[in-house]
Amino acid sequence: MAEVTYREALAQALREEMHRDDKVYLIGEDIGHYGGSYAVTKGFLDEFGAKRVIDAPIAEMGIVGTAIGAAMDGLRPVAELMTVNFAILALDQIVNHAAKLHYMFGGQIKVPMVVRTVSGWGQLGATHSQSFEGWFAHVPGLKVVTPATPADAKGMLKSAIRGEDPVIFIEHSLLYGVKGEVPEDDNFLLPLSGAQLLREGRDITIVTYSRMAILALRAAAKLAQEGIEVEVIDMRALRPLDMQPAIESVMKTNHAVILSEDWRTLGMGAELAAQIYEHAFDYLDAPIARVASLEVPMPYSKVLERMVVPDEEKLIKAVKETLNRA
């Protein structure tokens, strides 16, 4: 095991799979000469050449659509969409095509494609700070992955590339610099679904994913000092959803908070909460709290942006309110 950043873990996964299988290629905007807008593919153009590291025009539909077509013919494209905000330009290709072809043509066509994209914020303004993972998770035929740690990033990306179905792989711009232990094994593969218990606790369960999992652990540590034992569940994949760990946890703690960075209404929190209510109804001592982003277009000014996104303070407040209710 070595300590590497989330960024480096992703680069390792891509590099290893490209060496393992020459049917794997990368296509995306500025992944070559520029080195990737978040530097994940820095050096790849020199290492693998322009045939396998394609600097695409700004054409999100074209990037995803050609990747689907190549996947249909047996290649294993990894398409990069610079941020999830631009991914919605390619939503027709992802939703009306990648997700449908295998079923619609009675199993004749397979689409072994990965779409890597990025959520995040940081004074980027209203059109560059959104989270749409819930939209992808709504669509049968897609697999949706949102790794929180370098190890998950590497192991799940490798599995996504080797898999036979279209995978929407959502990274987080504020995680690229975060370090963690990552196995060096070339065949380090992780399943594309399966929630994980990150921290045990008896009092309340925080169900979350991606960068918010890190936030949840920090808050849990603080709350522990006040004698509140928080259990933290990282969903890791949003389609298919593995609800069992969260449900079992809530059956034990009888309290839950859902933490996500997207807008609250119709966000991931709605589904995660609904399923917990459905399966642990008789165990809940209080309604489940949803901590999510406030429902405004993201303002640029940092004093306003700060108010919009979930933070430790808001999370801790929600935990206490949920515990103290009634």
């Binding site: 045939k51 539909m61 050609t66 689907i68 077509g69 079923y103 043509f105 004749q108 035929g141």
Partner: protein, 357 residues
């Protein structure tokens, strides 16, 4: 009649093998190319007439409620699909829009399985899950009909990218209508195809209408083949009602694509004799508009007349073929009628290749 069904499906068994051909691809139309002038032209006649007759049967089945949803007939445009496929190698790749029946037939798909698909039967080309707009026969490199206008252009471009990536000498033909050239995906696809010099032909069937909107009202450049200039790509327009002309022009573009010359944008001038779909009240044109074209430019008439005049085949030949085809249509309809609907289990099959992992 399950025996007949079983036989047909056995013969077609590789059809559902995902991604690419498993056995050498053949089709009557392709084979005929290597045969005599007579054989070749009879096969072309047979193909066009089968398209026409099967479409007529399809329309009838729709009115009988055996076919549901949207149904877009190919009647009037037969020379395009027939000309395109006869100018290609059997293993060349085909991607079309939803007006796909004629192409399925020209590519050599079984007419019984085509009808069965429209009937929503398990024996259909796509197991009854696709319907009229989503016929596909991947083992024949027919990657299917697509119903999001322009949505299949990037897919076809990606297929061509894969072919070049793997150094294969196959090419891709991507078929669309005139109205489809206005959508963003047309622009993104043609730019990438030209930028990467991909082995693909974008073939526009210009039937003068985007649903009910006349050509001049939906595009700023009605000479659609000239849109190729925006991509440094060759463009070419020709009469799509004359099979021989279609063959000529497609063969030239195919040769270019196959020999590293890159993509082309072809525009086949054609006309549909029926509405956009069965639901179309056709307020946007008169009966006589249609009669005018049907009486002077019916692609099947043009072909038959010429070959009879040339003495390549005779009235008698056409009669005999007509009889064969009538029987084929009857058999196909019976196959579709007698085929079973999908079992309930089929509902959950093929959502994912790997349900778990």
């Amino acid at each position: 009649m399950t025996t007949e069904t079983d036989l047909k499906l056995a013969a077609e068994s590789q059809a559902t093998k995902a991604n690419g051909a498993s056995v050498p691809i053949t089709s009557p139309l392709a084979e005929a190319q290597k045969k005599s002038d007579r054989e070749r032209n009879l096969e072309i006649y047979r193909t066009m007439l089968l398209i026409r007759r099967l479409e007529e049967k399809t329309a009838e089945a729709y009115t009988q409620g055996k076919i549901g949803g949207f149904l877009h007939l190919y009647i009037g445009q037969e020379a395009v699909a027939t000309g395109v496929i006869s100018a290609l190698e059997p293993d060349d790749h085909l991607v079309t829009h939803y007006r796909d029946h004629g192409y399925a037939i020209a590519k050599g798909c079984d007419p019984g399985r085509i009808l069965a698909e429209m009937y929503g039967k398990s024996t259909g080309l796509s197991g009854g899950k696709g319907g009229s707009m989503h016929l596909a026969d991947v083992k024949r490199h027919f990657w299917g009909g697509y119903a999001i206008v322009g949505g299949h252009l990037p897919l076809a471009t990606g297929l061509a990218q894969s072919i070049k990536y793997q150094g294969k000498d196959e090419i891709v033909v991507c078929v669309m209508g005139d109205g489809s050239t206005n959508i963003g995906m047309f622009h993104e696809s043609l730019n990438m195809a030209s930028l990467y010099q991909l082995p693909i032909i974008y073939l526009v069937e210009n039937n003068l209408f985007s649903m009910g909107t006349p050509l001049k009202e939906h595009t700023s450049l009605p000479e659609i083949h000239q849109k190729a200039r925006g991509y440094g790509m060759p463009g070419d327009r020709f009469d799509g009602m004359d099979i021989d002309v279609v063959y000529e022009h497609v063969a030239t573009a195919a040769q270019r694509a196959r020999t590293g010359g890159g993509p082309s944008l072809l525009e086949a001038m054609t006309y549909r004799f029926r509405g956009h779909s069965m639901a179309d009240p056709q307020f946007y044109r008169t009966k006589s508009d249609v009669e005018e074209v049907r009486s002077h430019r019916d692609p099947i008439q043009i072909h038959a007349q010429r070959q009879i005049e040339r003495g390549v085949f005779s009235e008698a030949d056409t009669k005999q073929i007509a009889d064969e085809i009538d029987q084929m249509v009857i058999d196909s309809a019976r196959f579709a009628d007698e085929s079973p609907f999908p079992e309930p289990e089929a509902l959950w099959a093929d959502v994912y290749v790997q349900e778990h992992s």
